[in-house]
Symmetry: C2
Subunit: 420 residues, 2 copies
């Protein structure tokens, strides 16, 4: 079978499964998820063996340490994967919920019912836990899914997918509700994102290159996550202790994550004091600082000058750019110009400034007096997230179960017809 | 200026206006809408003269009567246009609304704020009233818009756009918040739908060809409206009087509209009685019937046989296809296979059948005991609609102000940082 035929087959099977899944009860979906957890536990040894194969190949191919780390499963991570599944079981079922049912003057009742999107295609890097997480979120939201993990994790993913299929085959849900693209050929991705008849939405989880490629080729809507160029702005009425604590957390709690701060903006009225506080603390943690001219005048130990390129760079590393701004307005303009509409925070005790920042900063998450690191499905109470969207269409910010659903209108009448 | 330069200019101006509009107060937006209504009234004579020119050209070009009718403005239609504007003023302002603000275990408060999408591109046929309706809905939802009406209405639209600009220039909102593409060159459309930097969503309102062309070229999300192949299904436990009344209304109240019924499905258990009731009534109104073999056996006065093509045809005319189905399941399968996911209704007194139909029919609007003609923004209480979506992504069914908005996350803290 050619790749095109195989993808067509996966698509058709997913579409058929989706019709069935949409009618599944909460109990059926939860039982299937539980069965998947059991089967994974039973097949832990085989899955670990497959992962060891993947790791050996990846090492032989000279993959960087960070990628090997993401690829590796161990007992603890395996347990965390199962724990994640159990958490999805406990999430409320969004499907079928009817909202805003109200009478209209014509006598009809109009409301909206939450329904699945249908078939979700997920393209991700070599992180085996995403296979389970994505499958669980899709099943719970009654969507069929087609998963395409990174090629380095193919053996692990095939082992995981076998366990899922085995569990589904013994459940009330179709075995093809979750399918893995079982080839590492890249044309499979190109086909997946263009099968508009079979796929309702594509969620690319991965680096910029992947997302750019998917966006360019997609004939299907994409829940896009571009850069995470997040800002913290220390307003002139910030409490400095709080500001310093949040700045440290936003930059240094983890470096390689999209909701870490990449640029610190400081109001000129408070700049000297703020720099005196944050610069040594950031240096203590080994963060390289790149400042605007004024910031380097005020804090000569800022080691580098920031260029225009720095303002639009997602470092994902212990590097931070710093800019002194004249006022709130200038801070917001910087964020809306150079940011990536991901997550931005203001530190202030001023009510009006907080209110304007919330309203005028055009990002998926806008925060007052909190670390940008909170921008995450779990922290927001979504249970888990399928991705973080930097788009405005359909879903913004962390996307949980609800982002995988849609609302259809329902009308309840008793014989009403429309007049002229 | 080349067309590309002109479109680029419109896009840039729209983007700049959108930033400003997003911060406008409800009062500023309503005042601007009121000012537009006043200016339109003042310039009624000039607008009517421009419309007369358009009509003369269209007649000379031999446009069909139906298109001339859509193009023509008269005193009554002009008044209706202004009345529509006043109705949009009275709609609640969706922007800035904060929902579901709740505390999380970390101590942060998380909620969602409704914000505009940004810049909306609307491409429509030669119906001048859409110019005003679209502009009003976009302004009220704080979106800048770029309007591209049919080429036959260019003089009317330019006159309307002049009135809008005049009113906006004297208001608190930017004069470029509403802009008209002032060329009839078709490449303008191709440019408009591919300016992803400047345009956030495209709403094509028009025939299949337009929508197909826009979808093929678009680099921007599209709120698509494909066919309106709507069904009424007479279940075996339908009240026949009600069924007949709804069938007549859904088919004959207006023919050229997307929410008119195109196929009637009848449960075989009730087929003879139902046909005896609806066939003469439909014939009385001059509707041509095309039936399946069984229906023609039961009602030999059904004049034509329906082919497979009929099941997927949107007649928009006094033609109806009729099919006898074995049971509810078969009806739903027919609808999900041949329908266009627009609007479908069941007529029944059976609770379980109604419930299953609501749940399992995969359409933007699903109805029980009501005419499909109700699928409309006004009837649903949205005030007005910018379009009807047959997609699932972002918006389904009639799209009102809310469909032109998005939700961003807001986080209110008091110094919270994220722990490991």
């Amino acid at each position: 079978m050619s790749i095109a035929e195989r993808m067509h087959q996966l698509g058709k099977q997913a579409r058929d499964s989706a019709r069935f899944l949409a009618q599944a009860t909460t109990r059926q979906k939860n039982s299937a998820l539980l069965a998947i957890a059991h089967t994974l536990r039973q097949q832990e040894l085989q899955i670990m063996a497959a992962n060891a194969d993947d790791l050996a190949n990846a090492k032989a191919a000279g993959l960087p340490e960070a990628m090997l780390d993401r690829l590796a499963l161990d007992t603890q991570r395996f347990a965390a994967m199962l724990e994640g599944l159990m958490q999805v079981i406990e999430l409320p079922d969004p499907i079928g919920e009817i909202s805003q049912l109200r009478y209209r003057p014509s006598g009809i009742q109009v409301g909206q019912m939450r329904v699945p999107l249908g078939v979700v295609g997920i393209i991700y890097e070599s992180r085996p836990n995403v296979t389970i997480e994505a499958a669980a979120l899709c099943l719970k939201s009654a969507n069929a899914c087609i998963l395409r993990g990174g090629s380095e994790s193919i053996a692990t993913n095939c082992a995981l997918a076998r366990a899922i299929s085995t569990a589904l085959a013994a459940s009330d849900l179709p075995a093809t509700a979750v399918q893995l693209v079982d080839t590492t050929d890249r044309t499979a991705v190109d086909l997946l994102v263009s099968m508009a008849d079979y796929v309702d939405v594509i969620v690319p989880r991965g680096g910029k290159n992947l997302i750019a490629r998917v966006s360019a080729l997609a004939k299907v809507p994409v829940i896009k996550h571009l850069d995470g160029i997040c800002h913290v702005y220390i307003h002139q009425e910030a409490e400095l202790d709080m500001a310093c604590k949040i700045v440290l957390n936003a930059k240094t709690q983890r470096y390689g994550v999209c909701n870490a701060m990449e640029t610190l903006l400081i109001d000129q009225a408070i700049a000297a004091d703020a720099l005196a506080c944050v610069v040594p603390a950031l240096h203590d943690r080994g963060v390289e600082l790149r400042g605007c001219a004024l910031s380097r005048q005020l804090a000569p130990n800022i080691e580098k000058s920031a260029t225009d390129e720095d303002w639009s760079t997602e470092y994902l590393a212990p590097i931070l750019s710093i800019r002194i701004v004249d006022h709130l307005e200038a801070a917001m303009q910087h964020i809306n110009t150079y940011g990536s509409h991901h997550t931005d925070a203001i530190i202030t005790q001023n009510y009006a400034a907080a209110r304007r920042f919330l309203q005028e900063v055009d990002s998926g998450s806008v925060m007052v007096n909190a670390s940008t690191r909170f921008a995450d499905g779990f922290e927001y109470g979504l249970g888990a997230e399928i991705g973080i969207s930097t788009d405005k269409f359909h879903a913004r910010g962390p996307v949980g179960l609800e982002g995988l659903t849609s609302l259809k209108w329902i009308v309840l009448g008793q014989g009403q017809v429309r007049g002229e």
